[in-house]
């Protein structure tokens, strides 16, 4: 009997200390989300300015730049997968990896080779455990990405892209990341980074029309300078969104873990009390029975 109480007490103690950890991690995630969202907002002006400039260039010149022309046939694709460095974020990394698997499946089904680039230790562990090949991995700081990381990734991908298929390069680049929609909704998303899609659009309002720019020094050089920046800013935006999603997912996971721990503590406390009461009852009845036996004799 006493052993049972001891077991319950141990369980209550360990669950209580785990709950402390969950609560702490939830608070940390909550405090970091604000910052992550502020960074998403802070990167907006840059992204907007670049997007506007790229669409201005694309809309007025018949651009024939390798970055914007669709290759005749796509034989090899690069897929960049953005996951977390650490777990304890619910299904965050799993959701992105599942989406990435789906995409790779689809691309292979179209007869394309797939080269995978990873961000985050979770993706690395996933690929290594299954013995799948990947080209390169960037780890560290997935919950607070630096622009330098985005620049580095952009450089590697652009290099791959500018190599021809024959030299082992890729014809298109996809990014799989978790888009931060709101604190409760984060959607694993796939976007095609390259080649850029130049969309034709009719503009009815005069003011929406992009002006005819002069280029300094040459259209070609402006594009050469602009497009890599555009790619970097897109990658950085994806990294920031992924970071905000990771933190939101972690906050939610830790909250439900903490709630579950509270439930468990309640349950074990009840069980412990029952066990204690049963022990007392038994002791009492043993005493009463002993006294009865003495009286009877």
């Amino acid at each position: 009997m006493g052993a049972q109480i001891r077991v319950y007490r141990q369980k209550i103690n360990s669950t209580t200390s785990m709950r402390k950890i969950f609560k702490a991690m939830e608070l940390i995630a909550t405090s970091r989300i604000g910052k992550a969202r502020a960074r998403v907002a802070a990167s907006q002006p840059y992204a907007n300015a670049i997007t506007r400039a790229v669409s201005a260039v694309a809309s007025q010149t018949q651009i024939d730049h390798p970055l914007t022309t669709e290759p005749e046939q796509v034989r090899r694709s690069a897929v960049l997968v953005l996951t977390a460095d650490r777990g304890l974020a619910g299904s965050y990394s799993a959701g992105v990896l599942k989406q990435a698997e789906g995409l790779a499946e689809l691309l292979r089904g179209e007869g394309k080779e797939v080269k995978t680039y990873l961000v985050g230790r979770k993706a690395q562990a996933y690929f290594e455990f299954r013995g799948r090949p990947y080209e390169q991995v960037w780890t560290g700081g997935t919950d607070a990405p630096e622009f330098d990381t985005a620049r580095e990734i952009g450089k590697v991908l652009l290099e791959q892209f500018s190599l021809g298929f024959e030299q082992g390069g890729v014809d298109e680049i996809h990014v799989v990341y978790s888009r931060f929609q709101s604190m409760v909704v984060q959607v694993p998303t796939v976007v095609r980074l390259l080649p850029l899609e130049v969309a034709d659009e009719y503009v009815s309002d005069e003011s929406d029309l992009l002006p005819l720019y002069e280029f300094e020094p040459e259209t070609e050089q402006v594009l050469d300078a602009l497009l890599p920046r555009y790619i970097e800013s897109r990658i950085f935006a994806a990294l920031l969104q992924a970071a905000a999603s990771e933190l939101a997912a972690r906050q939610r996971a830790m909250k439900s873990a903490g709630d579950n721990a509270t439930e468990l503590i309640k349950k074990y406390t009840r069980l412990r009390n029952t066990a204690r009461q049963a022990e007392i009852t038994q002791e009492l009845s043993e005493i009463v029975a002993g006294a009865d036996a003495l009286n009877a004799s």
Binding site: Y46, A49, R52, A53, F147, L210, P211, Y213, P217, A225
Partner: protein
């Protein structure tokens, strides 16, 4: 008098915005001065100092290390990889 509406953004943060009388920037070809009414330009910035003459107040110097800028209908958007606000007194170009 018309004035320029200037906005400077860096990759991960917003740097400065406001009205200005003139913006002086360094492109890969040389220096370019922008006054209100300038024709639309999209140019590559070279590393160096930018000078902005706001409508009121002292001249502002911003050090950038590459990027590009666009001008259209008196709106100047400077997109820098990295931008650092300098002291107005230490503006290199006067």
């Amino acid at each position: 008098m018309a004035e320029l509406e200037v906005e400077i953004v860096a990759a991960d943060h917003f740097v400065w915005s406001g009205a200005a009388k003139m913006v002086k920037a360094r492109t890969s070809d040389g220096e370019i001065g922008i006054l209100p009414g300038h024709s639309p330009v999209l140019a590559v910035l070279a590393a160096g100092d930018l000078a902005i003459e706001p409508v009121s107040g002292a001249r502002i110097a911003v050090t950038v290390d590459g990027g590009f800028f666009s001008v259209d209908s008196n709106r100047v958007v400077i997109v820098a990889d990295n931008a650092q606000m300098g002291e107005s007194t230490s503006a290199g170009i006067r």
